[in-house]
Symmetry: C2
Subunit: 296 residues, 2 copies
């Protein structure tokens, strides 16, 4: 029994614009539990097919006008966007309807900039059409990583030092609006995420380790942070079971995420996998790390 179910239901239907990964599946399930009757707008080639079990429509990334007409038909009380979009919209396929033209005028000059700017434009367009856009953490609060130790072993002093170094890398990425994740081994940043995403970055670390370019032994940490001033209603940094598994394969000792600004998909399974693989999971405040160290 979910508390506040009737209240939640009274808040009306949620339209879930679903990108890739497992988190949209989890969110849809929770929204259903909460009585929010999710309508899924699945991005073609990105959304998990499991979402097709819900009432849904499929759109292409370039079909902004179609998105608007779906929203006008479904009339959700709230809209939420979850999951990343890997493919860049193919501009040649943009349909020349009025909404698309209006949004394109905003988006086109920004389309080659970082993701955050594009998502802000999309949110503004949906809200201008009369549909409030919420952050997924507002609708499903248990997704948000809390501060402090979450699962697995406690980070050592050396781990905390590596966290502080990787935090500097991730913060630089945030300022550049380029990525969210960084891997440090000791005092050396060995990988920075850009268009490849966190999973491919971790696979790269695993490969570099295999060919002897990162020294021996198990060491290093993954840090994943929100961008400074990040639009919290889109593209929050996310980790899940797959992230833990990839970090383990990369020979890392743990993962630190931005407390209150990052999502943990499938919380119990992710913590269990961290314990099983012997990796720590912690939530950190990157702006108040002790001098030269990570969180306790």
């Amino acid at each position: 029994m979910v508390t506040g179910k009737h209240d939640a239901a009274a808040r009306g239907r949620v339209a879930l614009i679903a990108g890739n990964g497992r988190i949209p599946v989890y969110v849809a399930g929770r929204l259903k539990q909460f009585g929010r009757n999710p309508f899924v707008i699945a991005v073609r080639g990105e959304a998990d097919p499991e979402l097709f079990g819900y009432e849904h429509d499929v759109i292409d990334t370039a079909e902004i006008g179609v998105l608007a007409s779906i929203l006008k038909r479904v009339r959700p009380a709230e809209v939420v966007m979850v999951g990343g979009i890997r493919a860049r919209p193919d501009l040649r396929r943009l349909r020349p309807d009025w909404t698309t033209i209006k949004l394109a005028a905003y988006l086109l000059p920004r389309l080659r900039a970082g993701d955050d700017m594009i998502l802000r434009g999309l949110i503004r367009t949906i809200e201008n059409a009369g549909f409030p856009v919420r952050g997924v953490h507002e609708l499903v609060p248990d997704l948000l990583a809390g501060p402090g130790h979450i699962a697995g072993p406690k980070p050592t002093r050396a781990d905390r030092e590596a966290i502080a170094v990787a935090v500097r890398g991730a913060q630089a990425l945030g300022i550049l609006d380029t990525g969210q994740a960084s891997v440090a081994i000791g005092r050396r940043i060995v990988a920075l995420e850009a268009a490849e995403g966190t999973d491919l970055m971790l696979k790269r670390v695993a490969e570099l380790r295999e060919i002897g370019r990162l020294g021996s032994g198990r060491n290093g940490v993954l840090v994943k942070l929100a961008k400074p001033g990040q639009e919290l209603r889109a593209d929050l940094p996310t980790i899940g079971e797959a992230t833990v598994e990839n970090a383990a394969k990369a020979g890392l000792r743990g993962i630190a995420v931005h407390a209150e600004n990052a999502l943990i998909s499938d919380f119990e399974a992710t913590c269990e996998r961290a314990r099983e693989r012997g990796l720590f999971l912690i939530g950190i405040d990157p702006d108040s790390l002790p001098d030269g160290e990570g969180a306790q």
Copy 2:
């Protein structure tokens, strides 16, 4: 006939500590032409086997004491270090001789930091032993990239904008002592170099393009810069034929390097390859780019 040959010969023998890539081979050839009778100290697993055609010794990255004893035997007038070291020294193999212990005391706390710090320590150790260390550009000046257009088509206005964006990425890497190269497409940084090196980073861009994550069409630039305050006697940013080829495969439009701070290996062949593949090569001053733009 090389001008100043006899003067050069009078300046004595050069010991060439050779890491990976083709540039040590080129440098050894030029030094021989200049009458500097190079003695090659080849780093095992890194140096090109072509270098074994010179009088040489082979050392492991952990054999710092062996390096000192080779230098004392060869007694070069000058030492130069060329080519990258991919593998991190395996500390368990460090030989416990006196030079190693002295250097280890300096290096160990820094070994997990960026490459630049380690190289500075190595240079200081060699100089303390009485052998002056020169920058390769001091001994083979034609290796250094000049400012302005070097080869291939002229960069367009859009190319210059992408250069300015990638410059911001590469400068951030320099501050973090993490890498030298960045790729931007339009106003978006899509790849940042860390431990993987420039070639693997370019291969990643090619792969991301293949799977549709970078949009369509040929666009984007590679920028490669020295770090702010970089030790110019080691690890200068380098491009060559392979870089041009990999940039072409990644669908980029050109390459911008740090004028007077970057090396172009095998200059004629690299320029010819750029013309053949239709890529521009230019030398830029990252600190004086026109507002929001790259070099003319």
